[in-house]
Symmetry: C2
Amino acid sequence: MKKVTSLIIFLMLVAQFNYAQDGWRNIFNGKNLDGWKQLNGTAKYSVSDNMLIGETVLNSPNSFLCTNESFADFILEMEFKVDDKLNSGVQIRSESLPEYQNGRVHGYQVEIDPSERAWTGGIYDEARRLWLYSLERNEKGRKAFFKGQWNNVRIEAIGFSIRTWVNGIPCSNIIDDMTPKGFIGLQVHSIGSNKDLEGIKVMWKNIRIVTSGLSKYKTPDKNAILQFSYIPNSLTDREKKDGWKLLWDGKTTSGWRGAKLDKFPEGGWEIKDGILSVLESSGAESANGGDIVTVEKYANFELEADFRITDGANSGIKYFVDTELNKGAGSAIGCEFQILDDAKHPDAKLGVKGNRTLGSLYDLIPPVNTRFNGIGLWNRARIVVKGDHVEHWMNNQKVVEYERGTQMWRALVAYSKYKDWPNFGEAKEGHILFQDHGNAVSFKSIKIRKL
Amino acid sequence: MKKVTSLIIFLMLVAQFNYAQDGWRNIFNGKNLDGWKQLNGTAKYSVSDNMLIGETVLNSPNSFLCTNESFADFILEMEFKVDDKLNSGVQIRSESLPEYQNGRVHGYQVEIDPSERAWTGGIYDEARRLWLYSLERNEKGRKAFFKGQWNNVRIEAIGFSIRTWVNGIPCSNIIDDMTPKGFIGLQVHSIGSNKDLEGIKVMWKNIRIVTSGLSKYKTPDKNAILQFSYIPNSLTDREKKDGWKLLWDGKTTSGWRGAKLDKFPEGGWEIKDGILSVLESSGAESANGGDIVTVEKYANFELEADFRITDGANSGIKYFVDTELNKGAGSAIGCEFQILDDAKHPDAKLGVKGNRTLGSLYDLIPPVNTRFNGIGLWNRARIVVKGDHVEHWMNNQKVVEYERGTQMWRALVAYSKYKDWPNFGEAKEGHILFQDHGNAVSFKSIKIRKL
């Protein structure tokens, strides 16, 4: 505890020192809420002892105390302290527009999350794309925040890059081009009608920003944590350096063919505005344009693809696909990352214990910890293959993990619909397949790197 | 190759040196077969250049060239060389009796096995209990034998202990009290009617023995390899030192109770001559005496039990058993090492892909590499639990291996008859159960050690 306190004091001294330098200025004056406006919810915001205090009220949506000023590129720091039971966050480059959900505040939120999940410092795209950077894959980041104490947060938003630190520990790193500027906002989360949470508080102080000469203040990026890019169909410098390739160029059918064809299907698929879509047909498996596969085969790899589904849709991403098997009707044979509208497609209730739901290894392994962004929103699928070890990830949550080729694998396959395919799922390499199941489903940002 | 040759020469020199000492004598004179008699098969045995040569003939059972003399405690050495395609062996303490299978040679055979399996130096109980010491768990031993070359074998049979070395590498170590003495015999294995194997050879030379003052010649036992005991319901000194306990004392019901009772069942089970038997009833599950369980619970353990089944029988050994589950009809709930007459019991064909056959993890994982000794013979079951890692072994072959608690485990259970038992197979500890399935099945030498 003492160590922690010392760290905080040190960080605050550093902050004071920074403040003394040119360029830094306070955007909260410590006395009143001049320069801020409250949007959406009715939480109580007040000022006391140089602290800006937010307090929950019953039956309010999320509340935001937002700067009147708009900020594009900046480095922002502040200290915050939050009740153990309250979720909060700091909006940056955010907007409230009459034409967007009737003025609902939306945009990048640097998370304040004292729950067991411990995603403080993560980046949530409020009222828009949802989680951009959870701390699921940043264990050190998850330990950066201290409950019941003052914590320091630093946010560097420069160009397409947004990075965060909590108490000096790097937490998030995204590359995104969606909104270049907007207000800064302090969230008090809705508590619904839960009286136990009424009147609990989040506090901020020393809210300071620098907006010019940023190269002088910017923290060098030493790749300490993962970087997630949301720029469609393109690779960041770091991704290129790490060996990522675009598996789809965003424009043409190059590198792809029909699973049962020598070329790309004549119909059933559409490429438009950087999005690859299965067109709606009958809802039958591989009956319209048919599945498409990579021309190349892959053995050990990390694959990412963003997908978006429509109401009741069914699709999937298969790997270890052998297009020489199943020359008959239906989809080509391989392991499938299932894509499904679990709420409306009947297949979600078939199979056993959810082993045909979104993110599952189809008909074999039910997913765990799924976090679906919803119909019409983009979700990120990730498949990792290292020898016999395979993982499915969705929106940065690991949802399926297995060891193929084991006795347990074979015993499991023996129970499934794949039981009659010899050595199912044990191919050393195979094509990657996107499934046409006759429902409108879209893909973009399809990337791969060999491991 | 050169290294190997040097080793052989060295070993032969050592042998010559030993021979020069008191006590060693040749039992093959290098000139003719005086002192030997041929039993059972019609293979050709001849002498040439100090070598005793065995040669296959068509349509003969196994042939044995046996000493007229009987040997009890001894150390025996010889060199041998064998055709790559021929199985052979050296019988010790063996017998041919009119009352036993019409004079069929039976007893301990030190294996000569140039096949890929590479069990040369193992101990096979010819025409009796079959494998006593395969080299499945002795990887170094499997590499001791060199194809196409002269190899040295050393056998120390002293009291209940029989140990073997091939080219100086320890291969087998058993403790057994079945036959204290008998002849030495050189096997030429049957080749049936396979003409490709006609006329292939095995050769022996320098067959020498010492029978007195053995303490002077005996190799100290440094526990370099595993020791397997076949003395019923007892522990060797080494087993005691390694932490083994008898789970059944061989005489009483102490430490056991009915799975659904506070005491041992009144009927349905029999203890006689060191054998614990389920009595034949209707063939129904837990309907007569009912299953029995250990009073104690076990978490991490190594369990061994010898079992013997009758025609068409069904039984099993369960672990992680919670006797509080399933208070109704049928067997208590836990993971089951299936015991079944696969040939005659219908359950072998049920389930999927053999996951209800002998050695399987019942209804979940089919066994691999099973080696069943047969109806009426003893088989040794072994179950190893280390945390979530579990193995089934039968007759020293690993037949099932799995990691419980994994996503794949749960996905597999979801398909099985256990799908409705919450967290099936994931208990930290549980009773060990022997199943009454209404068929005559016997157990002995039930041992456990905590890991």
